[in-house]
Symmetry: C2
Subunit: 343 residues, 2 copies
Amino acid sequence: MAKFRESDLIRQWQTRVPIPRPDTVVGIGDDAAVLEPQSGGRLLVSTDMMVENVHFSLGWMTIREVGFKAVSAAVSDIAAMGGEPRHILASVGIPASARLEDANALYDGIGEACRLYGLDMVGGDTVASPAGWVIDMVVLGLATNQVLTRGGGRPGDVVAVTGYLGGAAAGLDWLRGGGQAVVTTPDERWVLLDMHRRPLAQVEAGRILAQSGATACDDVTDGLAAELRALCQASGYGCFIESQRIPTHPAVRNYALRRGKSPVDWALFGGDDYQLVCCIPPTRFAAAQAGCMAAGVMLTVIGRVTEDPALLWRSPSGVVEELPEGGFDHFAEEGEEHGHGVG
Amino acid sequence: MAKFRESDLIRQWQTRVPIPRPDTVVGIGDDAAVLEPQSGGRLLVSTDMMVENVHFSLGWMTIREVGFKAVSAAVSDIAAMGGEPRHILASVGIPASARLEDANALYDGIGEACRLYGLDMVGGDTVASPAGWVIDMVVLGLATNQVLTRGGGRPGDVVAVTGYLGGAAAGLDWLRGGGQAVVTTPDERWVLLDMHRRPLAQVEAGRILAQSGATACDDVTDGLAAELRALCQASGYGCFIESQRIPTHPAVRNYALRRGKSPVDWALFGGDDYQLVCCIPPTRFAAAQAGCMAAGVMLTVIGRVTEDPALLWRSPSGVVEELPEGGFDHFAEEGEEHGHGVG
C-alpha cells in the first residue's frame, strides 16, 4: 500500500490546479463544492470514467498524458451539447504500486488541461485501487445558447463532422507495434501519437454549432458508426453517408496505406477522436462552416439525414449498403468489438 | 468479458431509477444532463468513489446493498453542507466476472436510495473493470440556507453529533468473524449489520442545523477523530471532547463488552457512520436539538471548541490528553490505519 495520505494528495490538487473562478464559492477541500447558481443559461453535467488497461495503457502513454486526456474526454461531452465547461471534479483510484510522483504527474496533466479549458477543479475523491488506475471526471458547464441534444436531426439536414477522424485509432495501431512493421517518418509519427495521446475537446466548435442552428450533435468517442447510430436512434430518422467524404488526416492515410489498413475503418470504429458529428439544416451550413473555420476548425459534410430510418452509406468500393455496425463497446466480446456485421 | 452492452445497461438505469424532477431538462442518455438553473440558492456538488475490497467486500454485503450505501455516502456530503440533494450521476466499473443480474441488482440498490432521498439519476458512465467493482457517485444539491463549511467553528461553540457512532465498525467486526466468537442475539445482530450495510445520510438534520445557526459541520465518514481534526484544521481552533458523552448504540456497547473491545474506539476510528458532527453557539443549541428531535434525530453535545488549537479529550480512563490520531485513511499503512499514536 502506498505511503501517502489523502490530505497530502488534496494539497497537491490545490497547488497544481490553480484556476479560481468567480462562480466558485467553496472549492476543493470541504465536503462538497459550493457554486454560484448559473445565470442566463442551463446547467450541464457529465461524467466519464477511464480504467487502466481498458481505456488506456501506461505502455502507450504517460500518466500525465492520461490526466490530460481524461479531462478532454469529459469536456468533450459538454462541447457536444454546445456548452461552456466551467468546473471539474476528479475521482481517482490510485494503484498500490504508484509512487507519489506518479500521482503528481497525473495532477499535472489534469491541471494542464484545466488551464487549457478554463476549468476550476472544485472537488473529487482519492482512494486506493487494488488493480490499476481508475479516473472518473465530472464536468459542469453552462449552456447559454440552444442545447444540442442527439435527437434533433430532421430529414434534409446535412450531417457534418469537425476535424479529422480515425487519428486516435491510427496512433493506437502505431503504438501496438504497427509503427515497427512499416517505415514511418518522425513527423508522421508525431501526428499519429498526438492524435491518440492529446485529443482536444471541440468546445469552440460546439458553441458555434449551437449558435448557428445545428439541430443535433454528438462527440465521436466510440467511433463515427456508433455515434451516427446514436443520433439516428434518438431522432427516429436515418442517414446516408458518403464514405469518401469522411475526413482523415493525410498522415493517417499515408500510414494506413503502408499498413494495408483502411483509414475509413479507423474513423468508423476506432473512437477516441473527440471530434463532433452534427446535423444542420442546409441553409445554415455555410454560416456554421465559416464560424468554425474562423476558429481554426474544419467542418466537413459527410452525408444527410433521411426520412427512411436505415443507416446507409456509399462504401469505399462504391456500393450503397447498410452502414456496418461496430464501434468500441467496453462490454462487447473481442472480435465483436470492431465487428463489421450488418446492423 | 461480460456479454452485455452499455446501451442495455443505460436502459436498465432508465427503468430502475424513475424519479423525474421538474428541474431536469435532459436526463440519462445524452452526452450530458441538462438541468434548470438553481434558483434561490447555491449549487452543491460532491463525488464519492467506492472500490471493491477497499471500501466494501461482497463477502459482507450484497451488490444491491453496495448500491444503496454508495448513494448514502455521496448524499451525506451534501447533508454535511446543509443542502438538499437533487440529482445524481453514477459511474460504474463492472468486473468481467459480473452477470447482468448483478448489474441490475446494483441499480436496484441505487434506485431504492434515489427514491428515499428524492434524487433524479441524470447520467453516469458504465465501463469494464479488470479487477472488482468501482462505483463513483456524483451528487448535485441546492443550499437555500447558510452553507455549512468545516471551518466556521468558534471558541465557545458546543460540538455535537447526530445519532449513534461506531455502529458501522461494530457491524464490520461482526462480519469479519467477531459474531461467531461471542454469543449475540438476532435483534442485536440486526442492529449492527443494518448500521454497516444501510447507513442513512442525515439530510434533514443537516438542513435543521443550517437553519438553526450551526457554524460548521462535517459528516462522519472516516471516524469521529479524523472529522474533529478536519473541523479544527479548517477553523484554526481546537476542541475538548468528553469521551463518555460520545453516543454509541446500546446494542453496540453490549456487543463491544462481550468482544472485549471499546465502543469509543469504533466511534473514533471506525468511520462509515454518515452521522453529522457540528459546531453550534451554545445559545442556539436548544433550538437545533428540538428541531432534530422533531425530525426523529438525536443531537448530543460531546464537547466544545477551544481557543487553544490542540485537540484534547477526557479519555475513558478519565485522563485529559491529546485526542488519539487515527481514522480510516485509504493510503495509510496497515497498523498505522487505526493507530493510536498521539498527533
